[in-house]
């Protein structure tokens, strides 16, 4: 993370995370917004509604649909017609969009959507974990995860820049932890309209629904051509690896704020123990790293910003010399007893010469608090792996035995 807080102070305002996102969307000059309200995404769409009501987003239509399914469907049409298109959702809403998610990426429509991460039913639960977006892993969307409200705000502009790049043309999910980031008030520098205009050129796709140059979108592809569509999507994801880094670097040059490209690192250079995580929990982990470093424990943090495309090389470079790697996941693949970050990291090491043990912990399900002590206990478990090898590969933490 590279930031000059002293310089930023004069521009900081204390706003809710959702407001910061809505304000960032406004600065990105969308042409069509379509959304259906769902907790904890609601404040984002309410703020955007107010901006529209006050005439603060020119040349923009807000389609107030009857469901999340239609919210994203409307953006299929608007994006294909050449409009910069935005939505926000979470949890059940995102699950309802599942079929449309494939459609958006398959037609290479660079829609941007903020996910206020929330647990999925049943049991019904409105609090934060990341099961919702992780469940959409294979839908062909770029997935970025933010650490704090400043990052999710700035990531919004980066997302449009990445997705709309003519070499990429992929939809982007920017993920923020529900409530923890969406409903927290903290000092933020809101995106400056003029700087965003400089950073983010207008969306002008080469191909769109245009009567002057008629094209067919979403054609029927038989076994002769379907594979090649998928291959090209994968190729675009490969190209996005560099584009995500470039977008972060260019953002830093203009705005002076940087949170990492594909990943970010904290005290990892000489670390024996590296904790990997995504989202707001990395803030807590940084505190734990500071505390343990003061006691001489060689621990560091690898923050994963981009989950899709998965930054294999960047991760390998950071963890290759560690003695143990711990992946923390706010999600689970039921039936495998592993979280996604753990499974993917472990999988990328097979067939390589990097020989580092990796263990996983599934934490914070359904909004359960993750106190510093929990992270410290996890580090203690990691120490045991260094001394005596892996005994349990992946496990839940803080289970309440009395409820089982």
């Amino acid at each position: 993370m590279r930031r000059d807080y002293e310089k930023e102070k004069k521009d900081m305002v204390v706003v809710e995370g959702s407001y910061a996102v809505a304000s960032a969307v406004k600065a990105c000059r969308p042409n069509v917004i379509s959304a259906y309200p769902i907790t904890p995404q609601t404040h984002i769409v309410e703020e955007l509604s107010q901006f529209i009501a006050d005439g603060e987003i020119p040349n923009c239509e807000y389609v107030m649909v009857e469901s999340e399914f239609s919210a994203l469907s409307a953006l299929v049409g608007s994006s294909a017609a050449g409009a910069r298109s935005y939505s926000a959702t979470t949890s059940q809403g995102l699950e309802l969009m599942h079929e449309v998610l494939f459609n958006v990426s398959g037609m290479r429509l660079p829609v941007v959507m903020t996910i206020a991460n929330r647990a999925v039913s049943a049991p019904i639960n409105i609090w934060n974990d990341q099961q919702d977006s992780i469940s959409q892993r294979d839908t062909g969307w770029i997935q970025l995860y933010a650490e704090d409200t400043q990052e999710i705000s700035d990531m919004t502009a980066q997302a449009f820049k990445i997705g709309e790049d003519p070499d990429i043309l992929l939809p982007v999910m920017t993920c923020m932890d529900g409530f923890i980031l969406s409903h927290v008030y903290e000092p933020v520098v809101l995106l400056d309209d003029d700087l965003v205009a400089e950073y983010l050129p207008p969306f002008e796709p080469e191909l769109k629904l245009d009567p002057k140059n008629p094209k067919t979108f979403g054609a029927f592809a038989d076994p002769n051509s379907y594979t090649e569509f998928r291959y090209l999507q994968q190729q675009a994801m490969d190209k996005a690896l560099k584009k995500i880094e470039d977008a972060a670097d260019e953002f830093y040059d203009l705005f002076g704020r940087y949170y990492g490209g594909l990943i970010d690192t904290y005290e990892t250079d000489d670390a024996d123990i590296i904790l990997m995580a995504m989202g707001s929990i990395v803030g807590t982990i940084k505190d734990v790293v500071d505390k343990l470093r003061a006691k001489g424990v060689k621990v560091g943090l690898l923050k994963v910003r981009s989950f899709r495309p998965f930054p294999v090389e960047a991760i390998h470079n950071v963890i290759k010399d560690a003695k143990v790697v711990v992946a923390l996941d706010k999600n689970i693949s039921i039936g495998l007893n592993e979280g996604a970050l753990f499974t993917e990291t472990k999988a990328t090491l097979y067939n390589t010469k990097i020989d580092v043990p990796v263990i996983g912990f599934m934490i914070g399900q359904g909004g359960r608090d993750i106190p510093v002590e929990t992270i410290e206990n996890i580090v203690d478990e990691a120490k045991k792996v260094i001394d005596s090898g892996i005994t349990v590969e992946s496990q839940f933490t803080d289970l309440k035995e009395e409820l089982l």
Binding site: F69, S73, A74, S78, S85, N103, A219, F220
Partner: protein, 291 residues
């Protein structure tokens, strides 16, 4: 009028969808954008890398063409391109009355300026003739088959035009591919009226209904001539125009030509069912003042 649906598509001989699409585009002209959901029309006109559409066209999903059309309309508005370019959502009865119902309802309630054309061939034809909410009384389909104890689909058709009128649509019309001039005029009227407008076109399917490929238009006309498919227009929820049927033909003339109603003439008790169908036609004559 130029046909903007290129020949060489993969529709069956005598395909109702091809006619419906052709007539719709004749009404719209070149300056339009068409959305079609999953169905025969999409599959037969767009096998990649070919396309029969000489206008911009997009397929999304089975259940969301009205929502996609909403987004296109919003994009045109936002970019100041609305007004001349017409937005059309064109889908089958499954994508309209059943799985697409919420999407159509939402788009009409929001008042988007577009026209929805339902091509009603009265079953899910693309997947092999399964029952839909538009399948008529006593028709045999693969999921509502006639059998030892069944006369096929025993529910009446969902009254979609009434539902769309109830949404406050300024213009709702029924038409039939058997009457091209009527269909072209009604689609054109719908496109010219501002707001969400709806045209429901009856569309006999040679494969699904079981009749000779040369008989599509004849069967379509018989549905109107027997008063089983009344042609009318509604403005702001009121019926304003009705096509009169001078000497209505008995429903047998229509039913006997189709395999899907064959059981009514071979199975014991079939004559009672035919009487019930005749009663539906008589009800239409009364209700719509067809004579």
């Amino acid at each position: 009028m130029k046909s903007l649906l290129a020949p060489g598509h993969r529709g069956c001989a005598g395909c109702c969808d091809a006619m419906a699409a052709k007539f719709t585009l004749m009404a719209a002209g070149e300056d339009c954008i068409v959305v079609s959901p999953t169905g025969c029309l999409e599959v037969m006109t767009t096998p990649y890398p070919e396309s029969s559409w000489e206008i911009p066209w997009i397929h999304s999903l089975f259940e969301n063409n009205a929502a996609v059309a909403s987004g296109i309309e919003a994009a045109l508005k936002a970019k100041g391109e609305m007004g001349k370019t017409k937005v059309i959502a064109m889908g089958g009865d499954g994508a309209t009355l059943d799985i697409g119902m919420r999407s159509v309802s939402g788009a009409f309630e929001r008042g988007h300026d577009f026209t929805f054309v339902c091509i009603d061939n009265e079953a899910y034809m693309n997947t092999g003739v399964q029952r839909s909410g538009a399948t008529p009384f006593a028709a045999s389909t693969t999921t509502s088959p006639a059998g030892e104890v069944s006369f096929g689909n025993i529910r009446p058709k969902k009254n979609m035009p009434a539902i769309m009128a109830a949404h406050g649509s300024p213009y709702v019309a029924t038409t039939s591919i058997g009457y091209p001039k009527d269909m072209i005029r009604k689609v054109k009227t719908a496109l010219d009226v501002e707001g969400p407008t709806y045209v429901h076109s009856h569309a006999p399917c040679t494969t699904g209904w079981g009749f000779d490929t040369s008989k599509t238009v004849e069967i379509a006309k018989l549905a109107v001539e027997t008063c089983l498919w009344p042609l009318y227009e509604m403005e702001d929820g009121e019926i304003t125009k009705v096509k009169k049927v001078k000497n209505p033909k008995p429903v047998e003339d229509y039913l006997k030509m189709q395999r899907r109603f064959k059981h009514l003439f071979t199975k014991e008790g079939g004559d009672e069912m035919v009487k019930k169908i005749q009663a539906l036609a008589d009800e239409n004559i009364e209700k719509f003042g067809l004579q």
